[in-house]
Symmetry: C2
Subunit: 413 residues, 2 copies
């Protein structure tokens, strides 16, 4: 535990003010006082310091007239130019990149078709480098202007070290992705699971705004899990992110354990179809879900069966999450949601059936469908969170072992 000295106090309040400015757009100092419950003096001092450090800028133009007389408020915003982040979201058939400014506003966006199926790390890192350079150029910037890179991908990731322990996209286990990207681009790099990235996006920009505790389940080609606890992502030992696809959904009587991924991943659903090959083809163009819906409505019995099975399995998994974590809200996101009721009906029904009665009604299920860019933006947000320098260490046993690309420390001033 840290000892509490004036420095920490200042760091906490500073972060609090910075976070308030981030969340509540252009905001006047008085309003910061109200929201943070800090004194006007303190806010004035801290904002002065933030402006001095170039993180915050007064907004002269477009002064909102606050109703009437009196000295007009000077609105403050994050200084967009304080940093540039590249966020990347990778899935088997697409790579999506955004360049954001210090506010998390998107400067440029790029979606690239790829086809990643257990590729060597060197291939993946090459593709990322390529995408990053393109997207940065598209934003009218150069690589030197980029402060951090943040990559989100499905699988089991060590946040601290940037090591991808396992992913459907990478051939080798324990791939040192962050290290590889630092070597290629010379930019400090964060690697995180796609579920955690999109959870951060929902928390900062999306439907989970101001919701400190929730769970998110991502239903893509892989199935991921994110647990937000008191505004911080829950991470396991070594900063490991969870991977819901590895959850076991078979009973003890089966000889071999059956994992959720083998039932509920998009590929698993497709495999039930009467025309697997052509569905796989549409998957490559990222339109598997729509195509599946069409087939189901066309009467593909196999598909109906596998979708049902997937929905039920997911319902059971969610029930177990409710049993173990009892989150106030559970978000469902990801491309598989395009299946709509064909997946959700069974999911909701099974969940309702399988939730222990005492926990009925505790966890509200919310379906959210952020676009690809939101995921990438969430990745960028993870990097921004580091830059804002929260005084509380990142949650979980693995302390912020920030990637040593250029700077080693990012504390305080």
């Amino acid at each position: 535990m840290k000892t509490a000295d004036p420095e920490l106090m200042r760091a906490i309040n500073r972060f609090h003010v910075l976070d308030t400015i981030r969340r509540h757009g252009p905001i006047a100092r008085v309003e910061i006082c109200e929201r943070t419950e800090l004194s006007a003096t303190t806010v004035s001092a801290i904002t002065a310091s933030l402006i001095d450090d170039g993180l915050v800028a007064p907004q002269h133009i477009g002064d909102l007239r606050n109703g009437g007389r009196g000295r007009p408020r000077v609105m403050l915003t994050l200084n967009p130019d304080a940093a540039c982040i590249v966020g990347v979201k990778i899935s088997p058939y697409r790579m999506h990149l955004v360049v954001t400014d210090f506010q998390g506003d998107v400067l440029s966006e790029l979606g690239l078709p790829v086809r990643l199926d257990r590729e060597p790390l060197i291939v993946l890192s090459y593709l990322i480098e390529d995408g990053v350079r393109s997207c940065v150029t598209k934003a009218g910037l150069t690589i030197e202007a980029i402060t951090s890179l943040s990559v989100a991908l499905p699988g089991v990731v060590e946040y601290g070290t940037g090591c991808v322990r396992a992913s459907a996209l990478i051939a080798e286990p324990d791939a040192q992705l962050a290290e590889a990207m630092v070597a290629r681009l010379g930019i400090p790099t964060i690697v995180e699971s796609d579920a955690n990235a999109v959870a951060q996006a929902e928390y900062w920009f999306g439907e989970a705004r101001a919701l400190e505790d929730f769970v998110l389940v991502s239903l893509e080609n892989s199935i991921g899990l994110a647990v937000m606890h008191e505004g911080q992502l829950f991470r396991g030992a070594l900063g490991l992110s969870p991977n819901l696809g590895d959850l076991i959904v078979s009973g003890p009587d089966r000889a071999a354990p059956v994992r959720l991924a083998t039932i509920a991943e998009q590929e698993a659903i497709i495999a039930g179809s009467e025309d697997v090959e052509s569905l796989r083809e549409s998957a490559r163009s990222g339109e598997a879900a729509q195509e599946i819906v069409k087939r189901i409505e066309g009467g593909d019995e196999g598909l109906i069966l596998s979708a049902t099975r997937a929905g039920k399995s997911l319902g059971l998994a969610l029930a177990n999450i409710v049993t173990m974590l009892a989150p106030p809200r559970i978000f469902l996101v990801g491309s598989s949601l395009a299946l709509g009721d064909h997946l959700l009906n069974d999911l909701i029904a099974t969940l309702a059936d399988a939730t222990p009665e005492p926990l009925a009604g505790v966890s509200e299920i919310v379906v959210s469908m952020p676009g690809d860019a939101a995921w990438a933006r969430g990745a960028a947000a993870l990097a921004l969170r580091e830059l804002y320098g929260a005084p509380w260490s990142t949650t979980g046993p693995a302390r912020h072992a920030y990637k040593n690309g250029i700077q080693g420390e990012n504390h305080g001033r």
Copy 2:
């Protein structure tokens, strides 16, 4: 979020010092400086205030001579008389009580045979009252001397409100146990799941000392779960504690979901035996596990099968915990462990088999067998933790809604 002012700073350091004194027995001020990394000045001021408040006392007797010359250190300890707590652990066949002082040292201990099978709240609260009065008398005290009461029992409990949503011991759902105890004894009361209580015991007194992150699975007549995260128990919405017995361990193909409890609870194991009735009889005297072992070694095929099944199911459940939370360590506790290898062999083997490869070796399994008193002491420790007044709100969405028996607030001074 709280604003950081000098008061908070003081509270943090004060708690830090108090916690250091608690953990490291009689300890000199200098050593507190080293451990907390606070300056001698600060430690001196804080300890003076703690002594002034009667929470800490200098220990004149038995001064440890620290090697040689120089001014001898004055050892400080928690003032045992600062508070008296009653901790209760309830299981279907036993009620165990301890009275502890402010240090958590046991002043008196009492084990009572009971037989609780979905009893009305009024019966349970009567039995608790009776036990508490006996145990307090045994300690040579009166009820008036008791600061708080803390009850641990299996089931789904709302920590904040002291409401037992469901438990095998209580007939009605949503039993307001804390309220009932306050009405009976007039003592502020905490109610918590038995798993959380024993986790707190392991954290403060047992094998998990100084281990900030771990998961604990309690294998008793019920199966419980506790997640310790950064030294705080993880609680869900409304302060709900998890109940692992409600976990579903069947696949999506089963018509009705099968819960872990129906396979791995002691009662479920017993049900497999060729001589159920006499085993139930031994269970009543709390010696089911030993008896089961005897029968298994005597060749009770049904029992062997059900024990195996239980072990496998638990292994799967643990694998799923590893998948979702990746804790550095998992503690197994509870009376079912007396089954020894008859349960553990299958459990460990299944766990090893079912753990996703990328997570192999992340979570270390530790078997611990604290006695009944330790559970009750853990309950008392939960109450003590509240009294120490940690400046960080209790973890989870439910903020410290401390039971309003006598005092309403327990902050700071």
